[in-house]
Amino acid sequence: MVKQLIAGVDMGNSSTEVALAQISDDGVQFLSQHLVRTSGVKGTVDNVTGIRIALEEAANRAGIRIDQIDKVRINDAAPVIGDLAMDLISETIITESSMIGHNPDTPGGAGLGVGLTVPIDELFDWTSDQDVIVVVPGQFDYEWVASRINAAIEQGIRVNGAIVQKDDGVLVYNRLSKKIPIVDEVSQIEKVPLGKLAVVEVALPGQVIRMASNPYGLATIFQLDPDTTIRIAPIAKALVGNRSAVVIRTPQGEVAERRIEAGKLTLVGEKQKVTVSVNDGSDAIMEAYEKIGSLVNVVGETATNVGGMLNSLRQNLAQLTQQSPSEITIRDLLAVDAVVPMSVSGAMAGELTLETGVAFASMVKTSRLPIQKVADTLAQAIGVPVEVGGVEAEMAIRGALTTPGTRKPIVILDMGGGSTDAAMMAENGKITSTHLAGAGDMVTMLIDMELGLNNKALAEKIKKYPLAKVMSMFHMQLEDGTTMFSDAPLPPDTFGRVVIREGEDLVPLNIKVTMEKVREIRRTAKKRVFVTNGLRALRRVVPTGNLKHLSFVVMVGGSALDFEIPQMLTEEMSKYGIVAGFANVRGTEGPRNAVATGLVLACAEEVGER
């Protein structure tokens, strides 16, 4: 009777997984499994450190020593590597300080005031038949400011509004005898042009301004002719949705939304090329891609943003895979539109606007990975025979088929960090596979950019855990509206904020965004990457290209652990009558360990055949 201890090892870009089993005449009995972060770039000898730790832990759990293992089999990892980049295609620029449209938390009063901009210390130098908007730099005290405005009004100077540098809007307002709207927290007040006609508008709490955000409102206020109205219109547009605003009329003052020349992409197919401008957005790019069918390479226009982007990508990947940059060809591309908060150039109060951009994931085929070298090094390190065996896609399917309720024909979606890999096993056992750019890391990048975090680790947490909003010292509201009490006071740095519920820990987000907005960004990012890629993958691997001929789709990989991605695909694919869900490898492991399990099963079969 043969009785062997066999370990399967799956090296991925992010994770290394191990399955340990005993093979005997009674069949295969799995003893343990383990997962560690992949050490180094996939397919290099750096991986050995990680594999060894994983094997040791698995052996440990099975109650054996690593040198008791009879054979280790590692997967012939697919020679693909992904990378990410982002390109802005719009930019908002203010020239000549013609507006401030920011939203201080506590402006003063409400209403509309029009007049010439006058510094508070020159208020009495003005003739009394002028309408005035008073400009208050930070060095002045609110008591003094208020009394001075009151005195000026007493003298008949028509003060109709105020622009204040410090957060003093309400304080000044409360001390005025005649009530005027006040916009405060204008940090760069020295940029406010003086002696110019200006309007200050503040809306009631919970409402938005109506006059300054309407071009004809501005035309009425400033008595503009039609030509000037055309020039000032982008200001009105930029103010849509604000609670408060200041607009100052200067001869050259302008707000422009500039399209950045992001450059053109040339998608090189097997038979044809298509060139598309990045400015046209992701839909246009993906449509062009669809037209040319399979991709041979992507080239960016030189001396443009996208050109530079693709160059640095090639450089990166060349370094990683130790090839020359010219050998690197992009074999798949996923473009996704993103809306990114950016600070307005030329602004006076740190205003942000939402600019549009395109995010790219790209996928490069490298020359064959030196897996044999990894195997040899590993064998030496642990003193156990190591063999390279089994195409990754085939092993993944084998492992996934241990999920209850599945059978051939089947498609697996391996949703990892850098790529989404798909493989189909037909009725007759024939396997087709494909590798797509864009997976978990792209979701993380999109969340990071769209929330303006500049913090990958935080974005990764937002991706993985549910949100809440801390409503008081002792309770918070969860994503679904449920209230949750706390006996101990919630930490001050979480108070009033959106927090990530990482188990018992609360990680606060220091951004001015509602919980619902964060949730929406998180979910849209997941949809844009994984629903898109799920469908792209199916169209590639299903022989007829017609999704209705398919019954089973099984998701594996790290991103199949996500608390909502698999459900999004379940919903989407049900439209085509496809049963889709995350795997439950061996009925117990969930979406993890498919390839490692497949390796063991393949090995067992061979042993059995002998």
């Binding site: 809007g169 409503m471 010292m473 002792f474 001050p492 108070f495 009033g496 220091n510």
Partner: protein, 115 residues
């Protein structure tokens, strides 16, 4: 009036209204009404804060000691535990944050010491 909404500030006998003007300005800018009261006996800021919280219609109260150390307490906090504290060098921001606590808004950071 019994149902008026305000935030009580309870001060050391050594503190004058002028001393805590900045604290009050922070509250006023946030639109949160307050009432100041002076105690006869010297105590710690956290003790004053706990007393203020107990009588507060907003369930939180501020205590200020003779050195202008400030403390914000909540009725549900045990003993004299403080939620946030401030010092003479950040009265305006401490007041602002107390106002924001009353309104359920996130605190402005920089210079706040968590208690």
């Amino acid at each position: 009036m019994n149902n008026e909404i305000y935030l009580p500030i309870i001060c050391s006998p050594a503190v004058s209204l002028a001393d805590i003007q900045d604290l009050c300005a922070g509250l006023e800018e946030e639109g949160v009404p307050y009432q100041c009261e002076q105690m006869a006996q010297e105590q710690q800021a956290s003790e004053f804060g706990a007393i203020a919280a107990l009588k507060s219609p907003l369930f939180i109260g501020i205590g200020v000691d003779r050195h202008l150390n400030c403390s914000l307490s909540h009725q549900n906090l045990p003993g004299n535990k403080e939620y946030i504290t401030g010092s003479r060098h950040g009265l305006r921001q401490f007041g602002r944050n107390c106002g924001r606590l009353a309104k359920g808004l996130p605190l402005v950071m920089g210079g706040i010491e968590n208690a």
